[in-house]
Symmetry: D2
Amino acid sequence: MSEHLRVAVIGHAFMGAAHIHAWRTAPQFFDLPRRPEVALLVGRDEARVREAGSRLEIPETSTDWLAVVQREDIDVIDICTPGDRHAEIACAALEAGKHVLCEKPLANTVAEAERMVQAARTAEAAGSRTFCGFSYRRTPALALARRFVEEGRLGEIRHVRAQYLQDWLSDADAPLTWRLEKEKAGSGSLGDIGAHSVDAAQWISGQRIEGVSSLLHTFVPTRPISGDRAGLGGTASSSAERGPVTVDDAAAFTARFSGGAVGVFEATRYALGRRNANRLEINGSLGSIAFDFERMNELQHFDGRDDQEAQGFRTIQVTDVVHPYADHWWPVGHGLGYGDLFVHQMADFVASLEAEPLRPDFADALEVQRVLDAVELSAAQDSRYTPVQRGEEHD
Amino acid sequence: MSEHLRVAVIGHAFMGAAHIHAWRTAPQFFDLPRRPEVALLVGRDEARVREAGSRLEIPETSTDWLAVVQREDIDVIDICTPGDRHAEIACAALEAGKHVLCEKPLANTVAEAERMVQAARTAEAAGSRTFCGFSYRRTPALALARRFVEEGRLGEIRHVRAQYLQDWLSDADAPLTWRLEKEKAGSGSLGDIGAHSVDAAQWISGQRIEGVSSLLHTFVPTRPISGDRAGLGGTASSSAERGPVTVDDAAAFTARFSGGAVGVFEATRYALGRRNANRLEINGSLGSIAFDFERMNELQHFDGRDDQEAQGFRTIQVTDVVHPYADHWWPVGHGLGYGDLFVHQMADFVASLEAEPLRPDFADALEVQRVLDAVELSAAQDSRYTPVQRGEEHD
Amino acid sequence: MSEHLRVAVIGHAFMGAAHIHAWRTAPQFFDLPRRPEVALLVGRDEARVREAGSRLEIPETSTDWLAVVQREDIDVIDICTPGDRHAEIACAALEAGKHVLCEKPLANTVAEAERMVQAARTAEAAGSRTFCGFSYRRTPALALARRFVEEGRLGEIRHVRAQYLQDWLSDADAPLTWRLEKEKAGSGSLGDIGAHSVDAAQWISGQRIEGVSSLLHTFVPTRPISGDRAGLGGTASSSAERGPVTVDDAAAFTARFSGGAVGVFEATRYALGRRNANRLEINGSLGSIAFDFERMNELQHFDGRDDQEAQGFRTIQVTDVVHPYADHWWPVGHGLGYGDLFVHQMADFVASLEAEPLRPDFADALEVQRVLDAVELSAAQDSRYTPVQRGEEHD
Amino acid sequence: MSEHLRVAVIGHAFMGAAHIHAWRTAPQFFDLPRRPEVALLVGRDEARVREAGSRLEIPETSTDWLAVVQREDIDVIDICTPGDRHAEIACAALEAGKHVLCEKPLANTVAEAERMVQAARTAEAAGSRTFCGFSYRRTPALALARRFVEEGRLGEIRHVRAQYLQDWLSDADAPLTWRLEKEKAGSGSLGDIGAHSVDAAQWISGQRIEGVSSLLHTFVPTRPISGDRAGLGGTASSSAERGPVTVDDAAAFTARFSGGAVGVFEATRYALGRRNANRLEINGSLGSIAFDFERMNELQHFDGRDDQEAQGFRTIQVTDVVHPYADHWWPVGHGLGYGDLFVHQMADFVASLEAEPLRPDFADALEVQRVLDAVELSAAQDSRYTPVQRGEEHD
C-alpha cells in the first residue's frame, strides 16, 4: 500500500462515527490500493468537534468546511450532515476537484440533486469520483440477491415487495427532532428509509420504477418541542410545548417497473415492534428471494427448479467464503453487524478509485430522488398514477 | 341434542368435501343445540354426484337444485358452487325459507350481491339465517387477534398490512381453469384471495375501508386451454392451444380506514415459494399482531407495555384451553389444520341458530364486495383514490 | 367399498375421541378396501360410556371389554386405555382372532410387552394384524424425512438429535394425575413422550439404538392429590394434600446407533414455553433434516450438494401433492392438524389389511420398549453405557 | 483519556486479527480510563509477522515472545496462539508482572491450567490481571440472559440445554489441520467449541456442573495431510496421503448442576448445515431463555407470568439502549457482528483495570477445564457418571 488517501469527514453524529470507524477498519481486512486515513473532522460547534476529534483520535478538527474542501492535502470529502447541507458542500468540494462521498438521501429536493449531478459531471470528467451512501447495498445478503438476479436464478421478475418498518415514533409523545422537520430532513419516512427501499429494489431487480401511485400520512401532527434524545426516538414529557410535524410519518405506494414487475412499497416509523425491518422480497418465474435487515446475515431463497418434494425457502447464512465480502472476515456462521457495512463501502470506494467508479454515484442517487418526487406528487394528486421523470440515460 | 338439522350441500368439489366433513365432525367436538346431518348432495352431473354421495356416505343425491331448495325436510342450503351460481340459488333458497350458508365471494358482482342481501332481509325477518363462508375468521389465531383488539391490547390502530400470496400460476404454462375466467370467477386473485384479506382486515381492526387506490395486473395473458389439473394449478403441455386469461393475476392497493389506519394490501398467485401465505399485520399505539396462515397455529404479538429490556414479538401457540376453539380439541401444542376451520364454522353456525346471528352474514359480505368493486374502479381510473360506496349501516 | 370393518374402541378419553373421529373420517378422504365403522364403545363407568356413545353417535356401548373382544361381529379391537391394561386386553383380543390396534407405549414393562408379542406371533400366523399407535409416524413431514433417508439424500448418518419438550408440569402445584403414577403409567416423560422420539429416531434413521447412557430426574417429588384437570396439566390448590410422584419428570440420554450414528435424547415436561416440541434433527454426510411438531407441516432440509453460495436449510411445506398423505387433502399450503395424523393411521391400517402389515407392529413396539428399559437400567447404574437387549431379528 | 495501555499481541491468525481490530476500535465507542494501543505483534515466522504488522499498521514486530513479555514498556500480553503454547507464555508474562489476556481454552491439560492459575495467584497479588477469552460472554443477548437469571425472571432453573454445532468437517476429505491433532489442540470439538458451552452454561445459570456422563466419538479417523485451507475446513484431494485424527469429532454429555438443574450438552463439527449454531436454552420454573449464535442479536424469552392467552416465546432484538453494550453502538434494530464481541471484551478488560477484575479469569477458566477433564474421563469409563474435581472455591 503506497500512498495514503486523506479523508475529511464533515459531521460527527451517529453517521460520522460509523464512517470514521469504517475508514480505519477497511485496510485491516481488505487489501486496498491506498490506505485511507481520516485526517480532518469538521463540525459546527468548536468544543464538540474537538471533543469528538480527541475521542476518535483524529489529528485535526475544523469548523470551516469551506476551507477544508479547498485544502490541497485532502483527497476525499465525506459528507455526513443532514440533507439540507449536502448540495452546497458537495458542489464546493467537486469544484475543488475532490472525490465526494455523500450520505443519502443525496439532497432534499430534486432541484438540488440535479445541481449536484451537474457539478459531478464536470468534476468526474476531470477525475473526481462521486458516491452516495446507500449503505445497504454493502450488505452481503443483498449483494448475493443481486448476484442471484444476474445469474438468472429468479427468471423473469414479477413482484417486488419492499417494506421498511421502524417504530421509534409509536409513542405520540416522542419529541420533535430534526428528522421530523421538512426544512432539515426534506421528507419523513419516505426520504429517510423509503429511499433505501427504492434504491435496493431498483438495483437488485435491475429494473427502474416507471411510475407510482402513493399515499402519505402523518399520524401524530404535533410533538413536544424538546426532550432528551435516547437513540432515534427518546421520550419527552407530554406536558411540553408541542410543535408541528411537517413530514410524513408513513408512506405507501404501488409501482410499475420497467421490466414489467409490480411493486408494493411501505415505509413507516410506527410499526410497533419492528425495530429496523428493512425488508425486500422479489418473486420471479424461476425463484424468489426475501430479506429482512433484522436478520441481516440471512438471505431467504426459493429455487423453483428444486425437486418438487424438496422445495422450500432456504435460509442462506451469507457468511461463507463464496459470499460477497465474507471471505475478508470470520469463519462461516460468524455474522457481521451494521457497522461492517460501512467498512465494505469504504473498501469498495477506495478499490474503485483505480477501477470502475463505484455505484451508486450521484446520478444514480438522483434517479432515486426522482422516484421519491413522483411519490410525493402522486400523494398530492389523489394517489393518481404518476410517471417518474427521467433524465438522460445513465449506465 | 334433540332435533336434527338437515343440510343440503350444493357442489362436491374441494370445498364441498370440506363442508361435508365439517358438518359431520362438528357435533363430535362441540356441544350443539341440534345435530347437523348432510341429508342431500346436489351436483350437475348425475354419475359424479352419485359417486361422491356414495363415497361420502350421503343418503341421497340430486341434480335438481331448485327442487332441493324447496323441499320441506331440508333446513339449511349450503352453497359450494362457483360464484356465478350463488345469487340464483341463494335467492331461491331464501324464498323457500331456508337458512343459507354461501361460500365466498358472495357473488361475482355488486349487483348480484345486493339482490342477495335484499332477499336476505326479507327472509331473515321471517326467521332465516344467512352466512358467508369467510372461513379464515374461524382460525383460532385470528379470532385471538380480534379479541386482542377488543381488549385494547393494540391501542389506536395505525397500520394494516395484508398480503395473500400464492404461487400456483408461476408457471406460464399452467392451464386455463375456471378460476381464470371472469365469467365464472368474477375476478382473479382479488376476489378469490384478496377478498379474504379485506374481510379479515375490517373484522379484526374493527374499522371499515373507506377508500382505495389500486393496481391490477395480468402477467400471463394467455394459457393452455386444457390440461390435467393437479392441485390448484397443474401443468399443461406448452404446445396446447391457448385461451385468454380474463381476470387479474395480482392486485395491490393502498387503503384508508374509517378509524384513521392506513392499509396496504396485496394478492397474487405468482409469489413463487409462497404456497398460501395469507398474512396480516396490524400495528397500534400499544401493540402489534402478525399472522401468516402458513403457520396457522401461531399468532405473533408485540406488547409495547412489556419491560423495555424484555420486549419482543411473542410467538403464541394458539392451542391452549384459554384460546378460541382450542378447548374443544387436543392438548396445548397439538395444532389444528385447515379442515378444522370448517368444523368451527359449522359449529358456530349451528350454535348461533338459537342465539345471535353468526357473522359475516350476507350484508357483511356485500360490504366486502363493495370494497373489491372500488378496487376495480380505481385500477381502471389510473389508480385514483376511490371511495367505497356504502349501503345502509349494518351493525 | 364392499364390506364394513367393525371396530370396538376401548377407552373414550382424549385418545379414544381422536381415534373415533379418525375411523369415521378416513373413508371420506382415502379410498379404502373396506369402510371402517366404530360399532362399539367400551368404558369402565356405565353412565359415562353411555354419554360418550351418544355424543359420538356410536350405536352400542359396553362396560365388559372381555365380552366385546370375543364377539363374532367385531373385526378390530382398538385399545385406548392407560398402559397398565394393554397386555391383558390385547392378549385376549388376539386369542379371539381380532386385529388389534394398541396405543403406545405397548405396555408398562418389557415382560408384558414380550407376552403381547408372543400372543401376536400366534395370532398373526392365523391372520390377525397388530399395530402400535406411534402416531407421529403419520406426520407427512416425518414420512418425508424417512423418504429422504431412503432416497440417500442424507448420505451416511452421523447425528440423531431428538428432544420431546413439554411444560405442563412446570408449576410445582399441578396435580398428581395418573400419568405421574408408576403403577398406571409405567414411566413418566420417558415412556410417554421419549418413546415417540425413540420410535421416530430408529424408524427414520433406519438404524437401531444399540446402547445408551442415561439420567432420569424428578424435579418435584410430591404433588397435590386432587384438582380439576384442564388440559394435560391443570391446577390444584397448593394447600391440598400431596402424594408422591413415582415417575421421572425428565429423561436425558446419549446413544449409539447400529449404523455408527451418535444420538442425544431428551424428554421432559418442564421445558417452560415448549408446549409440544417433539423435535428431531438428523445430520448426514450429504444432508440434514430437522423437524419440530410445533410446526408440524414443515420439514427443514439441508442439501449439502446445493451450490455453495445457495446452501441453506429449506423450509419445506409438506402439503404438496407429491408429499406423503397430502394429495388426499387440501391445496398446497393449507396445513393439516394433529387430529389428521390419526386419520392417516386408520387409513393406512385399513389399507394394509389387504397388503403388507402396517408398521410398527407389536414386535417393533417391543424393540422401543427394550430401549426404554436400557435407559432405566443405565440411569440406575450411574449412567453406565448399557446395551439394548435384542430379541430375534424382525424385518 | 490519560495514559496509553500498551499491548503486545502474540499470534496473528484469525484470532489475532480479531483482537487487534478490537483493541483499536474499543476506545472509539467506549469511554475508557486508558487508551489501549497494540504496540507489538509477535509471530514465529519473521517474514509473515512483518507482513501482518505492516498490513495491520502495528509499529513493531518480533519473533521473540520471551523478550517481548519482559519488556518494560508493555502492559498487556494478549495470547492468541494455539493452546499448547498458552501455559509457557502466560507464566512468563505473569512472572514479568504483566496483565495477561489468554485465548480459550486456557490450556490443553488440567495440569497446565493449574500451573497457570498458580502463577496468576502470585501475580494478581502484585497487581496483575488475568483474563481468559470466552468471548461469547460479551454477546449482548447472552449478557441479557445472565441479567434475566439474576433478576429472577427464570425462577428455579431446571434444564440447561447447550449445543454447539458446526459442520466444517462433514466432508470426509477435508484436510488434517492442527485443530485435529491432540498435541496442538488438546481436544477436538470438546475443547474448541464445547468449552464455550460449558462456560456459558455455568455463567448464565449461576450453577456449577457437578458431574457428567459422556460419549466422545471420531467419525472420520484419517484425513488428507495437506490441502489448501479455505475457511475453517477447506478441501483436499481425496488421493492425498492421510494421517490420523487424534481428537474427538463430536462430544455429547449429560450433566448435573450444583443447583439441581439437569444439563444436556453436545458439540460437533459434523452437523451439516449448522454453520456456527452455538445454542443455549434454559428452562426455569418461571421463565425460559433460548439463544442461537447464528442469530446473535436475538434472545428468545418466555415469561410464564404473562397472561395465559398471550404467552409465547418473545424474540427480543438485543439492540436497544437498555440492553448490555447496545447503547454504545447503533440505533435499535441495527445489529452487531461477531467481531464486535471482541470490542466489548477489550473495553470491559480495560475498564476493569480500575475496578473489579473482569471474569472469567484464569481460575474460572480452570474450572471449565476441569469439567472438560471429567467429560474425557467419563467417556473413557463407559460413560459412567463422573464428578468434576473442584479446586478451592473462587467467588
